[in-house]
C-alpha cells in the first residue's frame, strides 16, 4: 500500500482501519498527503465538505472547517455540527443536513444538490463519528459509480472505504494532524 501522507515515517497503525475489525475488500482507501487531497478537491467541479459532530469536540477542527468553507467549498453540517457554525456566526454557504439523508441524495445522479445547482463529484468527510462515516463512504464507493463520486476523508482516522484518506492520528499527534489540515487548506 502506498503511503505518502507523512513521507513514509508512519507506523503500520497509520494505515490500519481505526476500528481493527472494519476490514473491507479488494479496494482499500489510498493514504494520501494533504496536498494530494487538496488538489483533488480543488480540481473538483462540485466539491462538498461534510462535517460531523466531532468538529465540536476538538480544538481547531471547527476553525479548519470554516477555513475550507471560506475557500468557496460549500459545507453540509450533519448532526449537531451546525451549532458550531451558528455560534461562530459563519456567513458562508453552510446547510444542515442529516447524514443518512444526505448520502442517499448524493447517490442519486439527478439530485439537485444543496444549492439547487446539481450533485457533487467529490465529497469530503470531516469530523464524523468513525463508523458512521465509514458506512457512508462504503455506500458512496459501492453505489456512487455512475457518474463517479469520490468519497474522501480528512479525518484523523484511516478510512478503508474512502478513495483517499489520512492515516490514524492519536490525540498526542493532534498538532501534527492540524498541520496536515492547514497544508490541505493552503492548496485549495
Amino acid at each position: 500500500m502506498g503511503c505518502d501522507s507523512c513521507g513514509g515515517s508512519c507506523s503500520p497503525q497509520n494505515y490500519l482501519s481505526f476500528d481493527a475489525g472494519n476490514t473491507h475488500g479488494p479496494e482499500s482507501g489510498r493514504l494520501a498527503a494533504p496536498e494530494t487531497i487538496g488538489r483533488l478537491i480543488k480540481s473538483a467541479k462540485r466539491p462538498l465538505l461534510i462535517v460531523g459532530s466531532e468538529i465540536l469536540e476538538d480544538d481547531g477542527m471547527l476553525d479548519r472547517a470554516i477555513a475550507i468553507g471560506k475557500k468557496g467549498i460549500p459545507i453540509a453540517a450533519t448532526g449537531p455540527a451546525i451549532r458550531g457554525f451558528v455560534e461562530r456566526e459563519y456567513d458562508g454557504e453552510v446547510y444542515y443536513y442529516q447524514l443518512h439523508e444526505l448520502t442517499n441524495c448524493i447517490l442519486d445522479p439527478e439530485w439537485k444538490g444543496l444549492d439547487g445547482q446539481g450533485n457533487y463529484d467529490v465529497v469530503v468527510f470531516f469530523g464524523i463519528i468513525y463508523y458512521y462515516a465509514s458506512a457512508m463512504l462504503s455506500a458512496i464507493k459501492n453505489f456512487g459509480t455512475d457518474p463517479l463520486i469520490r468519497g474522501v476523508s480528512i479525518d484523523k482516522y484511516y478510512h478503508p472505504h474512502a478513495r483517499m484518506t489520512f492515516g490514524n492520528y492519536s490525540p498526542k499527534r493532534q498538532a501534527e494532524y492540524l498541520e496536515m489540515l492547514d497544508k490541505l487548506i493552503t492548496v485549495l
Partner: protein, 790 residues
C-alpha cells in the same frame, strides 16, 4: 362444529388404531375474514412495494465481498455481480433478510420453547383472558392470522404458520434463488411481520402461564442498577430472555421462605419478565453491562437461558469463581447435561468446583440448584475481593504504555490509554465516564500488550458510582387496554397527542446510557406517550432527578398523554404494534381480521408513532424495526445502526414519491413527506430528538395536531441544533398549522425564504403549501380501498 384434522384407520378388528388430531371448537364470528389470512411471502408484496418505492432501500455495505458459497469470495465492490449472479445491492438485501431471519427465529422460538417447557405441567388449555377492559386480546394474531385466541392452544396454529414461513423465507437465502434487492426487502418485511407476531405469541403465553399483569396501570416499583444488589446476601444473577427457569428460582425461594435471604438480580429481559410478578427481584443492568456485572463479582451463581448471553460466559464467570447453570438447549457452552440427576449431587459438584457449570434443561429442576449453590458459594466467595485492590489498580495504570491498541479494538474508539494516564495523575473522571460509554465487549483486553484487565480497571475506577447506582422502575404492564385506546384514539389520530415514542432494544449506545433518559424525559414532558421495552426500559431507570426520582416515578404509566410506560421485555414490544392496530380497530372501527395492508395503511397515514432503538445491536433489533416498518411505523436507530447496512429513506425533494389517494373520490394528491423515513440512523442524540418529532407527522393530522407537532419539531431543533429545521415549511399546509405564539414570525419566514404569498391583512397563506388542510381528507396508499375498486 368443524373438524380440523383426524383420520380413522381400521386394519381388521384385532388391530384398530384411532388417531385423533385437533378437534376444532366453534369459532366466534368476531369479524368478517379479511383478504390475507396467514399471508405467505408474496401475498403482501404489493404493500411492500408501495413502501419500498417511497422509502427506497439505501445500502452501506460493511464488506465488499460475498463469501457464502465456494464460488467466492466474490468481489462485489462498485455494485458488481458475483459468480452466482447476485449483485452488491441484492447481496445487502440478502444479508438484511438473514439478520431478520435470525431475529424473528429468536422471538418465535422463545415462545415455542416456553410452551414446550410448560405444557406438560399446566397443559395448553389455560384460558387466555385479559379481563373486561381488553376485547382485542391479541391484535397482531388477529390482524395477521385471523385467529382470535381464547386459550394457549389457539396460538399453536399461529406458531405453525410462523415456522413454515420462516423456513420458506430462509430458503430464499440460498445461492441461486432471489436476485432482486426489492424482493429481498419484501421478504425481510415479511420476516419482520412474522417477528412481531412471534413476539406477541411469546408474551401472551407467559402472561397466561404466569398470570403477569394484563395491562393494568400503576404497576409496582422495584429496584434497578448495579447498586441495588445487597452484596452481603447470596446472589443469583440471571441472564437472558426465557423466564421459566427463573420463575422456578422464585418458586423455590418462596416455598422455603428465603425471599429476604437470597438476592435475584437480572440482566436483560428475563429480569424484566420476572419482575412483572416478583418485585423482590432486581434488575442489575441491561445487556450492555453484562461483562462488567460479571467482573464486579456479584454472582454467587449465574443462571443463563437464551439470547444476548456472552458467548464466553464460562470464561468470564471463571475469572470471578461464579458457577454457571445453562437452562436452554440453545446455549449449553460445552457443559454436561445433568437434567434429571440428583440435585444435591449437582449442587455439590458446582460448589466444590468439580465442574465450572452444568446444563439443566428442565426449568422446574433449576430453582433448588441455583439457590442452594448461591447459598453455599456465598461464604466461600465473600472471602475474596473481585474488584481490583488500590495497589493492583495503580500497577496496571502504570504499566499502560498508551500504545493505542485498545482504542483500535474498541467499537467506540475510546481513548482508554489517555484515561489511564489521567487516572494515574489522580483524575478518575475520564475512566468513570468510559465505564458508561463502554459497550462492555472486552475486545480491548485481548489486544493489550501489557495484559491489563481493562474492564476491571474501569470497574475499579467507577466503583463509587456503581455503589450509588440505584433507581426505580415500574413492573412491565403488558398490553395497552382497549379502554385506554378509546380515550386516546381521537387525540392521537387528530394529532393533539403528538405521538407515541417507543424506545426499544439493546444497549449499544454511542455515548452511554444517559441518552435514553434524555429521550424519555424530553418526549414525556412534551406530552408524547412514551412506551418502553427491553434494555432501553432498564437503562433509563438509573437516572434520578434532583429529588431522587426516576422517570418511572415522575410520570404515570397509563397509555396517555405525557406518560411513561414500561411495557415489558423485548417480546412485549408487540403490544406497541398492538396499540397502533387497536387505534384502527377501536377508534376507527376498521376490520382488522386478516387485513394487514389496510391497517398498515391506516397507521402510516394517521397514527403518529416512532420507534427508537438508540443502541440497536442484535439481529432481533433488526427484525423488530423491520416489523414496525411494515406496519407503517418509522424507527430511528443510533449511529451504530448503520452497520445493519440498510436504511429505508424517503426523499422530501421528490414530490412524486409522496402521492396519496383520497378515499372519498379516488383523487391522487401530492402530500407533505410524512413520515419522511421508515428507518434512519441519527448521528447523535441532538439530531435524534428533532428527527423523531418529525417522524411523528402524519398526512391526516388536523390543524391543531399539526400545530402541536410542528411546535415540538421546531423547538427541539432550535434547542439541540440551534437552527430552524430546513424542511419545516413542507409541513405547513395552512396558517392554522403554524404555532400560535410565533405565527407572524413564521409567516414572515415563509414569505422571505420560501417565496410563499401571504395576505398580511388576514394573516393567511395565499399560496405555497404542497397541499391545503382538508379536515375530511381520507388518505390511503391502497387502490383497493378506492371507491371504484371496492
Amino acid at each position: 362444529m368443524e373438524e380440523i384434522g383426524g383420520t380413522i384407520k381400521i386394519e381388521g378388528w384385532e388391530n384398530v388404531q384411532i388417531n385423533i388430531g385437533r378437534i376444532g371448537e366453534e369459532e366466534e364470528e368476531w369479524e368478517p375474514m379479511g383478504p390475507y389470512p396467514m399471508p405467505k411471502m408474496a401475498d403482501l408484496r404489493n404493500w411492500d412495494y408501495k413502501l419500498l418505492n417511497r422509502y427506497k432501500p439505501f445500502y452501506a455495505p460493511l464488506c465488499d465481498v460475498c463469501a457464502l458459497c465456494t464460488y467466492g469470495k466474490c468481489d462485489l465492490s462498485g455494485n458488481k455481480y458475483g459468480a452466482c449472479g447476485i449483485r452488491m445491492d441484492a447481496m445487502q438485501g440478502r444479508i438484511v433478510l438473514l439478520a431478520c431471519l435470525v431475529g424473528a427465529s429468536a422471538h418465535m422460538a422463545h415462545g415455542r420453547h416456553m410452551i414446550h417447557d410448560l405444557e406438560h405441567r399446566w397443559g395448553v388449555d389455560i384460558p387466555f383472558d385479559l379481563g373486561t377492559e381488553i376485547n382485542v386480546p391479541a391484535p397482531l394474531t388477529q390482524l395477521i392470522t385471523g385467529i382470535k385466541p381464547k386459550k394457549i392452544r389457539d396460538f399453536l396454529p399461529v406458531l405453525d404458520y410462523i415456522e413454515e414461513n420462516i423456513v420458506q423465507l430462509a430458503d430464499a437465502l440460498h445461492t441461486g434463488q432471489e436476485g432482486s434487492y426489492m424482493d429481498f426487502e419484501s421478504k425481510a418485511l415479511q420476516m419482520g411481520m412474522l417477528d412481531s407476531l412471534g413476539k406477541e405469541v411469546a408474551d401472551m403465553v407467559q402472561i397466561a402461564y404466569y398470570d403477569m399483569p394484563h395491562g393494568e396501570s400503576n404497576q409496582p416499583f422495584f429496584e434497578v442498577g448495579m447498586g441495588s444488589i445487597d452484596t452481603k446476601k447470596p446472589t443469583v444473577i440471571v441472564i437472558g430472555h426465557n423466564a421459566p427457569p427463573t420463575f422456578d428460582i422464585v418458586e423455590y425461594l418462596t416455598e422455603k421462605g428465603l425471599e429476604d435471604e437470597v438476592e435475584i438480580g437480572g440482566i436483560c429481559c428475563t429480569a424484566i419478565d420476572v419482575t412483572r410478578k416478583y418485585q423482590k427481584a432486581k434488575i442489575v443492568s441491561a445487556l450492555g453491562r453484562q461483562l462488567r456485572v460479571i467482573r464486579a463479582g456479584f454472582a454467587d451463581v449465574i443462571v443463563i437461558d437464551e439470547q444476548c448471553i456472552r458467548a464466553d460466559i464460562l470464561k468470564q464467570a471463571k475469572v470471578v469463581g461464579s458457577p454457571v447453570i445453562c437452562t436452554n438447549d440453545k446455549a449449553m457452552h460445552g457443559l454436561v447435561d445433568r437434567t434429571g440427576d440428583d440435585q444435591d449431587e449437582i449442587i455439590d459438584d458446582l460448589v466444590e468446583g468439580r465442574v465450572p457449570g452444568v446444563v439443566i434443561l428442565d426449568p422446574f429442576q433449576v430453582g433448588k440448584v441455583a439457590v442452594e449453590v448461591a447459598r453455599k458459594m456465598h461464604p466461600k466467595r465473600a472471602k475474596k475481593e473481585y474488584i481490583l485492590s488500590d495497589e493492583a489498580f495503580k500497577e496496571y495504570l502504570e504499566s499502560c504504555t498508551m500504545c493505542g491498541s485498545c482504542t483500535f479494538a474498541c467499537p467506540q474508539g475510546l481513548r482508554i490509554g489517555g484515561a489511564n494516564k489521567k487516572a494515574l495523575e489522580g483524575d478518575l473522571e475520564p475512566l468513570i465516564m468510559m465505564f458508561d460509554q463502554c459497550v462492555g465487549c472486552g475486545r480491548c483486553e485481548q489486544v493489550c500488550k501489557k495484559h491489563i484487565p481493562i474492564v476491571d480497571v474501569m470497574v475499579k475506577a467507577a466503583r463509587p458510582v456503581i455503589e450509588k447506582e440505584k433507581g426505580k422502575m415500574r413492573a412491565g404492564r403488558g398490553p395497552v387496554r382497549d379502554t385506554e385506546i378509546r380515550q386516546v384514539g381521537a387525540p392521537l389520530v387528530l394529532g393533539t397527542i403528538p405521538g407515541i415514542i417507543a424506545p426499544i432494544g439493546c444497549g449499544n449506545y454511542p455515548n452511554g446510557t444517559k441518552d435514553v433518559y434524555t429521550i424519555v424525559d424530553e418526549f414525556a414532558s412534551r406530552g408524547y406517550i412514551v412506551t418502553l421495552t427491553g434494555c432501553m426500559a432498564i437503562d433509563c431507570g438509573f437516572y434520578l432527578d434532583d429529588e431522587g426520582k426516576s422517570v418511572y416515578e415522575r410520570y404515570p404509566d397509563d397509555f396517555d398523554k405525557g406518560c411513561v410506560l414500561n411495557i415489558g421485555s423485548c417480546v412485549s414490544n408487540a403490544h406497541i404494534h398492538g396499540a397502533a392496530i387497536k387505534v384502527a380497530s377501536i377508534f376507527a372501527r376498521r376490520n382488522i381480521r386478516a387485513n394487514y395492508d389496510e391497517i398498515a395503511d391506516y397507521i402510516i397515514n394517521r397514527v403518529g408513532a416512532c420507534g427508537v432503538a438508540w443502541g440497536a445491536m442484535s439481529q432481533k433489533a433488526a427484525s423488530i424495526a423491520t416489523g414496525f416498518n411494515r406496519l407503517g411505523v418509522p424507527a430511528v436507530v443510533g449511529p451504530h445502526g448503520v452497520k445493519y447496512r440498510r436504511a429505508f429513506l424517503g426523499r422530501r425533494d421528490l414530490p412524486e414519491r409522496w402521492k396519496v389517494y383520497d378515499t372519498r373520490n379516488g383523487e391522487e394528491l401530492y402530500c407533505e413527506p410524512c413520515p419522511e423515513h421508515l428507518l434512519v440512523a441519527a448521528e447523535t442524540i441532538e439530531e435524534c430528538l428533532p428527527l423523531m418529532a418529525k417522524l411523528c407527522f402524519r398526512v391526516a393530522d388536523t390543524s391543531p395536531g399539526r400545530m402541536i407537532k410542528l411546535t415540538h419539531y421546531i423547538d427541539l431543533s432550535m434547542k439541540y441544533l440551534k437552527v430552524m429545521p430546513p424542511d419545516w415549511h413542507l409541513y405547513v399546509r395552512s396558517e392554522t398549522d403554524l404555532p400560535l405564539a410565533k405565527k407572524e414570525y413564521y409567516l414572515q419566514l415563509l414569505e422571505e425564504e420560501q417565496d410563499w404569498k401571504i395576505d398580511w391583512k388576514k394573516k393567511k397563506i395565499v399560496s405555497g403549501p404542497v397541499k391545503g388542510v382538508d379536515p375530511s381528507f381520507n388518505p390511503t396508499l391502497l387502490e383497493r380501498l378506492l371507491p371504484e375498486k371496492r
